[in-house]
Each structure stands twice: as C-alpha cells, then as structure tokens.
C-alpha cells in the first residue's frame, strides 16, 4: 500500500505553478495569519540553511562587474540565483536565505537581489526554478514587520499592479538589513532625491520611439489646418497654458488676445482646443477645463464667442453639445469653489449634458476593493457578486457609455462637441481618447494607438507622475488614481467586442500597463509636456514605443482586419462587459493560460503570411494564364486577400 503525508505536497512548476483548490492556499489577509506564516517560514529557513558567510553580501555593496565574478566563484548557489541585468542596471544588495511567502504555493527559500531597477527573487529549490522579477516602480508601499519572533523579520511589499509580496528573513544577519534600506531607496527615488532608473537605462533599440508622435503630422493627417482651424503657436513656450502641448489647434478667426481672455476664464488656462475633426462633416471634438463661473455666475464674453466660433466652424449643425463628464451635483458644488459649467442661457445654441462620471477618489477606492477581491484568495462561490460590489465594471460601463454618446453626436448628428470635467486632464482624456478610438480606425492600429496616448494623454497633461506616484513614497497621496488603467480597460473591453478591429493584441495593452509603473521608459514620466521638455526626457530616456515598435510581431493581433471608416460602438451594457481577468487576476497561477495563446497567435501570423503569399502566387499565376490564354479577359480584379479586406 502506498503511503504519503497527510497533506499533499504541491509539486508544481514554479512560475506556472497552479495551486489547486484545497492546497495550502492560505486564507491570508488578517495580520494574525500573516504572522503565523512568517513564523513558520522563518523556522523552515533556519532548519534548512547553513550559515552564510557575511563577507559575500558585504562585497556586494560595491556594485561592479568584477565583483560579480568573485561571487560566482565563491558561491555556486548565488551564481544560479543571480539576477539578469539590463544595460545600465547595477546590483545594490543581495540577501540569501530569504523566504518568499507565496500565497499560492507556500514558502519558498531563495536569494533576493535588489538592483536600482528591480527586485529579483530566485529559488532553485524548485524545478524549474522559481523566479520573481518585480520592477521597483510598481512598489506602492514597503512595510517592515519585526519582532514577531526572535531573529525573524518580515517584509511586506504592496504593489500598484494588483499584488502584494511577502518576504521573511532572519534579522541578525547584517547584510539583510540593507535589503530594506535599498528597497526603499530605489523604490522611491523621487522622495530620496535620486534619479529615476529610466535615465540610467541604456538599451539601444533599432526604432526611435520618440519619433512616433509628431503633432503637426497628426493634425495634417486629420486634414488640418483648414479654413476654420489653424495650428497655433500661441502656447509654444507654454505661456498660455503650462499643462497644454506647445502645438494646439484653435479656430482661425480667434485672435490671440481673445484666447488669453478665454484662458483666464478656464481653470488652469486650459482653453477649448481641437482634438479631432470628422473628415467629412467637419464636426469636431474640442477639450478644455471647466469655466470659472463661480458662485455669482460670472460670464466671459470671449469664451461665449469662442464656443460660438467652434460651432460655426461646422456648417452641418447649428448646435454645440457640451459634455461635462462630472456628476451634475458635483459640477454645482464646484461653482462654490469658483468653477462650474456653461449655462445654456449664456451660451446660446449650446446644450449641456452631464455624463455623471465619478471622481478620481471613487475610482481609486473601487480598484482597492477589486484588489482585495482578486488577490491573493478568491472566494469562488461569491466571485461575481464580489466583483459587482466593487463597482469597477459599472464605472467602466459609464465611461464607455459616455464615449458612445459623444461619438454618436459627432457621427450621427454631425454636431461638434466640447468635452470637459474639472481640470480636463482625467475624465476628459478618457472620454476624448475613447471617442476617437470609436470614430477613427487609425487609432486602432499600433502606431495610431501610440499616437493617441501621446496626444490625448501625454501632451494634454494627464498628470501621470501624480496619478501613479512614480518613485514617490507617499502612498496615501489622495491624488493617485487609476484613471489611465481604466482607459486601457475600456480599450480592452472594445477589443473583446471587436476582436478583429484592433491591430494590437492583449499583450500590447498589458505591456503598456506594466511600463506605466515600471519607470524603465521615459514615456509615462512627469505630468505634462513642459516638464518633459525641461527634464529632457527625449534625450535622457528611452521611449516605451522604441521597445514595442522594435518587435511589432509580438504585439500584433493576427485577426486584424482594417475596419476603415467604420465607427465601432462598443456595447456599454454590463452583460457585455467582463472583468479583465488576464490583467487583474494574472498573479494567480491558476489563471495563467496553460496553452500559450500568445505563442499560438504568433504562429498564426506566420501561417497567415504563408497563406497570403500563396494567394498572391496563385493570383499571379491565374492572371498570367488568363493573359496567355487571351481568349477571355478574366484577370482577377477582385482582391481575394482578406488580410487587406476593408469592411
């Protein structure tokens, strides 16, 4: 009769490990439970490991390559558990016999390495070796938990990307103390007055990503300037509005003086400027911040005239719709603070619509709840209602529904729209970018989507540094909010509803989100264009698009068909929205796709290319024959390659 220990040992491949239903998946969360784990982990470390000479870790403080070799000779295990490095990256500290308390597969003992860029944990205990590679940029908060038991020390790292990491190590070893200091130092370089790693990153990519977005070329693509709209240089030195791009499109007929007066009436000088123009109807999307109406219903003649000019630029409609993204009650409350909204009496022919989208704090809270639901333990029986209770999908729905409404006004009613919220850099960016994605197939290509982000988000001053908190240790900052994540989620929902309409795949969106936090690339650093110019981001750092555009085949959707000139209205109904499990629940090893779909898609791409080649060959052959037989002019004029099919 076979026998085995009462509890089955999870013998799982580390990275793709899947813990099954009743395996030691700890019901973590409570502090008590965590302490228990910690104690257990430390005991197991003490039992399993011999003392490690201090000198090695000390050597490591001098982070130069030759030292690495010394170490290699010195310790075989360390050699195996050594971290791969990016060009420009250096190791700051190494600690051996650290236990990673994995919520899915239990405690694993290995080596923890901290570099300027990442935290790297590797254990050769398992086969294949278990590795954990976390960019320090994702770290939201680091907590040291000490004194639970003698000699033991715990580290809890709360991440921005929907996971928490827990490590345990023995306290008395001097080297390990440095882990915590190094972690806090390099996870929060901004707070410690250190440079972000992006400026040290020295990879060379064959493609220059900073060249992806050229505002003038983009406006030219839209058919601008034309008789009504002009590319203005008024903000070339960021004097009119410091959070706007240097290149803005404004109505031709409005004088610079008037623009300044409009700027004075709009919060932070964010005047209405053009984002997108319909190629046929000339209906436009303009974006701005709220008017500073204030409690006394102040009016601004120039602003009213300005909006009238925007309306007049579109001959197809005698109306202008102003979409205020906020809840009407909040917009009212803003009046007391000097803000407000356009009254329909002051702005004749304008119609004001509130889209009832909640503010950044609500969104942050919703994501926090969502994280609690998905990490680490999932309540299988209550999964759906738990997701419901976070309202995350409901907020996604409201956003999409808002974008659909705006797009419909442009497309069906041929009416120009003005979109704003309070400052015009959060909800406004979400809405204009989504609307443009709905209306313009160009933005559904990889290049186009990069342009969309560069334009609507980066150049128009979505405050990435503040919203994400790059390198900032103040994790409780109320200005942080997952606004951009929400936008990417909406895009993902659209890709689910129109699987063939987008040139990029899911990995593309995941990569963008990963590097939103990682601080490896300069793309998402800082709050606005002016700051980026000042910090010389383009010369000092690498663009995320350099990385992506150098290996486009990784990010291409094999099913892509160009839906040119097609307006794609996503269905903004909760029954057609889904939680993006591959993002939010991806740290759960059970959620990892067993079949490498990504690999499969790449294979499909090659198959497609082969088939396409075959089609072309056959086509040529057929036409040759048709010509040579000369009895009938039956050359195939009908294009048969669905790859180029334009719907």
């Amino acid at each position: 009769m076979d026998s085995l220990p009462a509890k089955k040992a999870p013998r799982l491949p580390a990275a793709a490990a899947s813990a099954n239903g009743d395996s030691p998946e700890s019901p973590a969360g409570s502090h008590v439970e965590w302490c228990k784990q910690l104690i257990a982990a430390t005991i197991s470390t003490q039992l399993s490991t011999a003392a490690v000479p201090d000198t090695i870790s000390k050597d490591y403080r001098v982070f130069r390559r030759p030292d690495l070799r010394v170490l290699r000779d010195g310790n075989k295990l360390a050699q195996m558990e050594e971290a791969p490095l990016f060009p420009g990256e250096a190791i700051k500290a190494i600690a051996k016999d650290v236990t990673y308390i994995c919520p899915f597969i239990g405690a694993i003992s290995g080596t923890l390495t901290v570099t300027e860029y990442k935290l790297y944990f590797k254990s050769v205990e398992r086969d294949p070796p278990f590795t954990l590679d976390v960019p320090l940029g994702v770290v939201n908060r680091i907590e040291k938990i000490a004194g639970i038991q003698e000699n033991s020390c715990g580290l809890e790292i709360v991440c921005k990307d929907m996971r928490n990491l827990r490590f345990a190590y023995k306290q008395e070893e001097h080297g390990k103390l440095e882990i915590f200091e190094n972690l806090t130092q390099f996870a929060f370089p901004v707070s410690k007055n250190l440079p972000l790693f992006a400026v040290k990153y020295k990879e060379n990519y064959p493609v220059q990503g900073w060249k992806v977005y050229d505002p003038v070329a983009e406006y030219k693509r839209q058919g601008l300037p034309n008789e009504s709209w002009t590319i203005s240089k008024i903000n070339s030195n960021y004097e009119l509005c410091d959070t706007y791009p240097s290149v803005v499109v404004v109505p031709t007929s409005v004088k610079d003086d008037d623009l300044c007066k409009v700027a004075a009436f709009r919060t932070r000088g964010r005047i209405p400027v053009l984002s997108w123009i319909h190629p046929e109807s000339q209906a436009t999307i303009t974006r701005c911040s709220q008017p500073m109406v204030g409690p006394n219903d102040k009016r601004c003649k120039e602003d009213e005239k300005y909006l009238q000019t925007i309306m007049d630029a579109n001959a197809q409609s005698h109306k202008l719709i102003i979409f205020d993204a906020r809840q009407s009650s909040v917009a009212d409350a803003n009046k007391a603070k000097g803000g407000g909204y356009e009254s329909e009496t002051a702005y004749s022919n304008a119609e004001l619509v509130f889209l009832e989208i909640h503010n950044i704090h609500v969104m942050r809270e919703s994501l926090r709840k969502l994280k609690d639901m998905v990490y680490p333990v999932i309540d299988e029986a209550k999964w759906l209602s738990n997701i419901d209770s976070t309202h995350w999908l409901e907020y996604i729905r409201i956003l999409l529904a808002g974008a659909v409404r705006i797009a419909d006004k442009i497309e069906s009613a041929k009416t120009s729209v003005v979109v704003h919220c309070s400052d015009g850099w959060d909800r406004t960016s979400q809405l204009t970018a989504l609307t443009m994605l709905i209306l313009d197939s160009y933005y559904r290509t990889i290049k186009g989507f990069e342009v969309l982000i560069e334009k609507e988000w980066l150049s128009f001053g979505h405050r990435f540094a503040v919203r994400i908190g790059h390198g900032d240790e103040n994790h409780a900052d109320a200005d942080r909010s997952p606004i951009f994540l929400q936008f990417i989620d909406c895009v993902w929902q659209m890709t689910k509803q129109f699987p063939a309409a987008f040139e990029f795949n899911e990995l593309f969106l995941l990569t963008i989100l990963d590097h939103l936090y990682s601080c490896l690339f300069g793309t998402f650093l800082y709050n606005c264009e002016q700051q980026r110019v000042k910090e010389e981001v383009q010369t000092k750092t690498v663009s995320l698009w350099s990385y992506i555009n150098s290996q486009l085949e990784e990010f291409t959707n094999p099913f892509y068909v160009n839906y040119e000139n097609h307006v794609l209205y996503p269905v903004a109904s909760l029954r057609h929205l889904e939680l993006w499990v591959n993002y939010y629940v991806r740290w759960n090893p059970r959620m990892r796709p067993q079949v490498p779909i990504h690999q499969n898609c790449k294979e499909l791409l090659t198959i497609r290319a082969e088939l396409q080649k075959k089609v072309e060959e056959l086509q040529r052959e057929v036409s040759n024959m048709a010509v040579s037989s000369s009895s009938e002019r039956a050359s195939p004029t009908h294009s048969v390659s669905p790859v180029q099919t334009t719907v």
Partner: protein, 742 residues
C-alpha cells in the same frame, strides 16, 4: 373552415404530388420539409424587432405548419437577422418543439395559451418564448386572425402522443425519397464518421482504441432484460459470464449494473446506479459482483455523484433562472437591473453548477490519470450526472474526444446509448414539468468553458457546440428524441412497419425508379441490429448535411486546432500495461471518493452510502476538521492526486464565464464574427484560388484542343465572413443610445 379571408386551415387531405413541393414553397414562402404541411396562416402580421420599445417592425405573414412557426416578410429586401445557416429553419422560423410558451396579449392583459385553454379575449399580440432563449413578438392588425392562429400554434406545439411528433412523418417521407431535393442530403454522408454505439462493433472498436484489456462486449441485455434503460451492449470483464451479468442486475437500481465505459492509461472508468437497498441480503453473488466491479484492478474507487454536485432539479432551477435573466428581459437589454448584472447572474447559480461539474470531473480525471485502478461513477439512476461527469472526464483526458468525430461518439456512448432521458429531460411531450432538466445543456456549457480556455486543443468551435445545442430543440433526430435505446428501437421497428405499409399507395400513384425501400434493411439480424441500423428511417443529428450546407459546416472546425496524429493516438500513458489480467490481484481495496477525500471502505456490501453524513459536514464545513475526523479511515492512494497536472487543468471561478454567444445571442448587439472565422475564410479563399487555377488549366487545355469553351463562368470567391459588420453596427446603435441615457 374558411372564415376570415386571410386565415385558412389547410385540410390534411391526400398528399400533393412531388412536383408540387416547389410550387408549395412558392405559395407559402417557406421551404417546407418533406411531410411538412401548412396548418394555418395569418397575413398582415407585424414582427417587432424590439419588444416593448417597438423600434421597428416588419409586416408579413405568420405560418403554422406541423413542424414550425414561420414568419414570411412581405418586403423581401429587409435585411434579415443573421441566418444560422440552417437548411431546415429560416432566420425567422422556430420549430414547434423549440417553443417554450405561447403568450397572447392585448395592451392591458396577457395570458399563457396552452393546448387546452381557450382565449376569453381578443388578442392583439403574440409572444413566443423559445427554448433557445429567443423571444418572438408579433402584432396583429386584425384581432380575428390572432384569435385563430394563436390557439392553433399552442395546440400544434403540444403533441398528443409520441407518434404525433413530426419526425415520424418526416422520416417516412425521407425514406421514400419523395422529394428529389432531399435525396442528395443523405449521400453527402457524414463529414465526421461517428461511432453510434448502436452496434456490437462500435464497442469493440472503442475497447481496442482505448487499449482496454480483459473486457468483452456482452449481449446479456439484448432483449433489455438486465436493464430496460441500458444499451443492448454491455462491456463487462472477460471473466464474468452473461449469466452472472444477468444475476447482478438485482443489486442495482433499474438493473443498471457496473459496466465499462472507458479506459485511460492503466485505469478503467465504469458507471453504475445505486445499490438496491436490499442488495446486501443476497450475499451469494457477491464475489461475482466484485469481479464485475473491480475489472482487472485491485483498487476500486466509487465516486458518489450525489456528493457535491447539483441534482437535476437544482440544475433545472438554475437554468430557469438563467433563462429568465437572459431571455425574458432580452427585449430591453439596457435596464437598470443591469447594474446588478453579475450578482443576479451569480444568483441563478448556473455558473456554480458549471463550476462544480468541472471540479468533480477534474477530481475524477486526476484519479484516473497515472494510476492503475477502477473508477466507478455511481448515481441514483445513473442517467444524468453520470453521463455528464463521465463525458467531461473523457474530454479532459482523451484528445480523441476533443475532435468532432470523437465528441460525437462520446455523446453517443455516454448519453444516447447510456439512456439519458432526453425525452423527459427536455420535456418533449409536455405532460409534466417535474422531470425537465437541462443536464445535457449544462454539459455543453461545461465543454464550452473548456473550449474557451484551451481553444488550441479542440477541433471544433463554439459554432459547432451551438449547432448541437440548437439540434436538441429540433425534434428531427433520433439521438435526442428518446429516453433510452429500447424506446428508440421500438419506435424504429414500428416505423419500419409503417413505412412498409405506406409505401404501397405511393408506388401505386406514381411509379418510382428506385423502388427499394430502405426499411427492408431494418431487420433483426441475429437478434440485434447490425450496422445497417444506420440506414434506419430516423435521421441522425450527426448527419450535419441534413441541417447545414457545407459552407456553414466549415465554421465548425477550429482554425486554431492543430491535429497532431500523435496526440490522437495517445490516450494517457500506457505505461501500465496490465497484460496479466488472468488472475485478479489480491487483496482488493474499495475506496470512496467523497468531498475530495478518499476513504477506505471496509467492505463492498453492505454499502454504507456516505460515510460522512451530510449533517456532520454541515457542522464542520472546513476540510481540515473533516480530515481529522476521518483520519483513521483515510488511506491515501497515491502521491499524485493533483488536478493541476491534467492536460486541461481545472478552471477557477474567475475563469468561468457566461456563454454569451449562446445565452445572449438573440438581442443581437455585439454581432461580430468570431476571430477564427477570418482564418477559415482565408483558407477557403486559397482553396477557391486553387480550384480556379485548375479550371483555368482545364480551360487552356480545351482551348488548345480547339474546343468551344463558352459559358464557363466562374463564380465569385466566397466573401469573407466579416462582411455583415456594418448592418450589425447600425442596428445595434439605437440600443446603445438608450444605454447612454441611463
């Protein structure tokens, strides 16, 4: 019975001449099936595209035949809904057997119309709730017509007796090949030859395919004496005599004795019903019973399916809730209730049923893989969840069951021939709702979940699963029509007699060249139907060409699937080649799988059903305490009871989704082609080009031969599947607006 000019009742007089079929089609505007007759019609009927919002309506005529309710629009140019590609049913048709409820209404009141009830008011509207979650809504301009056709529809969908079902008339006509249009459909043959398990041979093939040794096909149940609900063919250990098989039936409910269903690696999968309560009193046959149960193994695990799984009644309850959620409100897809969509969805417990079934199947699968033991699934009557779990296990472990041929054979083996009560569970005769249960639909849903997660490992697509699902609602196929093989055999026998009787008048009235009726092949040969049963008059659902043209069948095949011959051949690791089956190894051990734990059962009989009583388990929910409690009895089997190592590991809750392509397909908002179809289109275009190339080459040859080659015009290549995009977006848009206003 000609009352108002627009409503006619067609007398069911003598059948029209064959040539009149086409004429008939032209008159009624619907392509009728052989044997199908129009029973009544109403003109000037408006079909509403959006119920309640009344956004759009099409005027046309409503027809009721003995097979379907059809709507024929007056203006033919109106873009139709996306056709399902069916040859049998048009986009606006619904089979009578697919009608769930008929509701008549006016602006103020509504009433469910049944066959017996009479309408006490003049209805203006007709609502047809369909089993496939569709909701058809018609408005009548003249109430007189409504009050005639509505009861007719209600009556027509209530069969008076089983023999009333349209399928029998259809089959008689089909077997006589009266209509030349249908003659070729049979000869297309099956694209994916299916083992029907209606013959001895198919079981033998299955035994050798799986590599099972020590088993034989017994004919003990040839006359349905062992069990009336089982197949004629039972696979039992070679050592066990037919006499013992017959004796064993006394131990089991309905005589459903343990019998072999599948072999994997070194293990066998068996199925049986619960022990009779008085079973242990008959101790004499116990050793024979053990032989039957253990097969060639020394370890036996009995999996009690009552444990942890929902009952058929619970499944139906969940299904009804799901139907209510997805169908009855589908007319107004953007209601406020949407806000709580996920919670409401969870409240239906349908997805929970899916999850539990998949979980149980994973448990059983991990038991079977890499072990040498016999796993026996036990259920009260062995006709519902046993079918489901058994087939899921095979889908998980056996790559062959993930091909179309294998999947169809699997359904035949585990459902049709094992006596799943299709007729009762689908409530075909509408006598009582008590037995109705969507067990089979739950199975299809479970397979869809697996397909969603492992698309590369399946030969078929969602479209294929939908086609099977829809076929269950069309009563034309013998597979999903009966409660057990015996019922089918009797029906076919009497039908064969029918055909013989009815052929005579036909041959008198119009002489036919092919005068050999097929029914003559349906004879008893050596006591059981031989392979010729394939030619029996009742068609099989797996003859996909009966329903779908080949162009549509292309969509059944997944473009992502790479058929790896090696994968197909391999069914688990055959490392354990138990060649020595001669002697039963001793000692034997019986285990009992309950709540994910294996417990040693001290003896087979008297069977202590669930050693952990339900009450107890409710008290101590946690597994830990349960384990402690059972510690002395618990003996582990082998180190690897790890579902994660399965080819298709279990799907956690976040991965289990609602099958939107099925349950939400009618309120068509997201109408986009499945991405796979694009690839399929590309492939078919290459084929088209190749064909064209050949044609060109031929033409050149003929040209050089100096022959005339006119009129050899080439057809256009198949257009890509995605061409319907724009329409869909247009229509879906109006609804989007309403969502935005929320």
């Amino acid at each position: 019975m000609l009352q108002s000019g627009s409503f006619r009742l067609h007398s069911c007089g003598p059948e029209p001449a064959p040539s009149s079929f086409e004429m008939m089609d032209r008159v009624v505007g619907v392509k009728l099936l052989p044997g199908e007759k129009v029973k009544g019609e109403a003109v000037n009927v408006k079909k509403c595209l959006w119920y309640k919002q009344l956004r759009k309506s099409i005027t046309g005529k409503l027809l009721c035949t003995n097979f379907r309710v059809a709507f024929v629009p007056v203006e033919t140019w109106i873009p139709q809904g996306p056709g399902n590609g069916s040859r049998i049913l048009g986009a606006d048709d619904v089979a009578l057997s697919c009608i769930d409820r008929v509701v008549a209404g006016t602006s103020s009141r509504t009433k469910v119309v049944s066959a017996s009830s009479s309408l006490k008011f003049q209805p203006q509207e007709l609502l047809i709730h369909c089993c496939d979650f569709r909701l058809l809504h018609f408005q009548f301009e003249q109430e007189a017509r409504a009050s005639e056709i509505i009861p007719l529809i209600a009556q027509s969908c209530q069969p008076v007796s089983p023999r009333d079902l349209f399928v029998f008339q259809y089959s008689v006509e089909m077997s006589n090949n009266l209509d030349p249009r249908w003659m070729n459909t049979h000869s297309d043959g099956e694209l994916y030859p299916t083992q029907m398990f209606e013959t001895h041979l198919d079981w033998e093939i299955e035994l050798s395919r799986t590599g099972a040794v020590g088993w034989r096909v017994s004919l003990a149940n040839e006359r349905f004496e062992v069990s009336p609900s089982l197949s004629k063919f039972l696979v039992v250990p070679r050592k066990v005599l037919d006499l013992d098989v017959k004796r064993a039936c006394a131990y089991f409910n309905e005589g459903r004795i343990p019998r072999w269903h599948w072999h994997h690696g070194g293990s066998d999968l068996l199925r049986m019903s619960n022990f009779q309560s008085n079973a242990y009193t008959q101790r004499d046959g116990l050793s024979k019973l053990e032989q039957l149960l253990f097969g060639g193994q020394s370890k036996l695990v009995i999996v009690d399916l009552a444990d942890e799984l929902p009952t058929p009644a619970e499944i139906q309850l969940a299904y009804n809730r799901l139907k209510h959620l997805c169908c009855y409100e589908n007319a107004s897809p953007f209601r406020d209730a949407d806000e709580k969509w996920l919670s409401t969805l969870e409240g239906t417990r349908w997805l929970e049923c899916v999850r539990l079934c998949l979980k149980k199947a994973s448990e059983v699968s991990s038991l079977l893989s890499n072990q040498c033991l016999t796993v026996t699934l036990q259920e009260t009557d062995d006709r519902d969840l046993a079918c489901l779990v058994s087939s899921l296990v095979q889908v998980i472990l056996d790559p062959y069951c993930r091909t179309m041929q294998g999947f169809q054979s699997l359904i035949q083996k585990e459902w049709v021939e094992a006596g799943h009560r299709f007729s009762d569970r689908f409530n075909r005769l509408r006598r009582t709702d008590k037995e109705e249960s969507a067990v089979f639909l739950l199975f299809l849903d479970c397979v869809w979940e697996l397909l969603e997660h492992y698309p590369v490992l399946f030969e078929f697509t969602e479209t294929y699963l939908l086609a099977i699902r829809d076929s269950t609602h069309i009563l034309l196929f013998r597979n999903f029509l009966f409660n057990c093989p015996r019922e089918r055999a009797y029906a076919q026998q009497s039908l064969a007699t029918d055909v013989r009787v009815r052929v005579t008048p036909y041959t008198n009235s119009w002489p036919r060249s092919r005068s050999t009726p097929r029914d003559e092949q349906v004879v008893l040969k050596g006591g059981f139907f031989t392979r010729e049963e394939r030619n029996c008059p009742l068609p099989s659902v797996w003859d996909w060409s009966l329903q779908f043209p080949l162009e549509h069948q292309v969509l059944f095949r997944s473009a992502l699937y790479s058929s790896d011959a090696q994968l197909l051949a391999q069914n688990g690791t055959s490392a354990h080649s138990n060649t020595d089956k001669g002697e039963f190894p001793l000692p034997r051990t019986v285990y009992h799988l309950t709540r994910g734990v294996l417990l040693v059962q001290p003896q087979l009989l008297p069977w202590k059903n669930v050693s952990v009583s339900k009450k107890l388990s409710r008290l101590s929910q946690s597994l830990e305490s349960l384990l402690e409690l059972e510690q002395p009895q618990r003996i582990p089997l082998s180190p690897s009871l790890d579902p994660a190592s399965l080819p298709l590991p279990p799907i956690p809750a976040p991965g289990i989704r609602l099958w939107k392509g099925c349950y939400l397909r009618w309120p068509l908002e997201v109408g986009f082609e499945a991405a796979y179809n694009l690839l399929t289109a590309l492939t078919s275009q290459v084929h088209w080009l190749e064909r064209r190339l050949r044609q060109e080459a031929d033409r050149q040859n003929t040209a050089t031969n100096g022959l005339d080659h006119q009129g050899n015009h080439l057809t256009q290549p198949p257009s890509p599947v995605c061409s319907n995009g724009s329409d869909t977006m247009e229509t879906s848009f109006t609804t989007m607006l309403s969502s935005a206003t929320l």
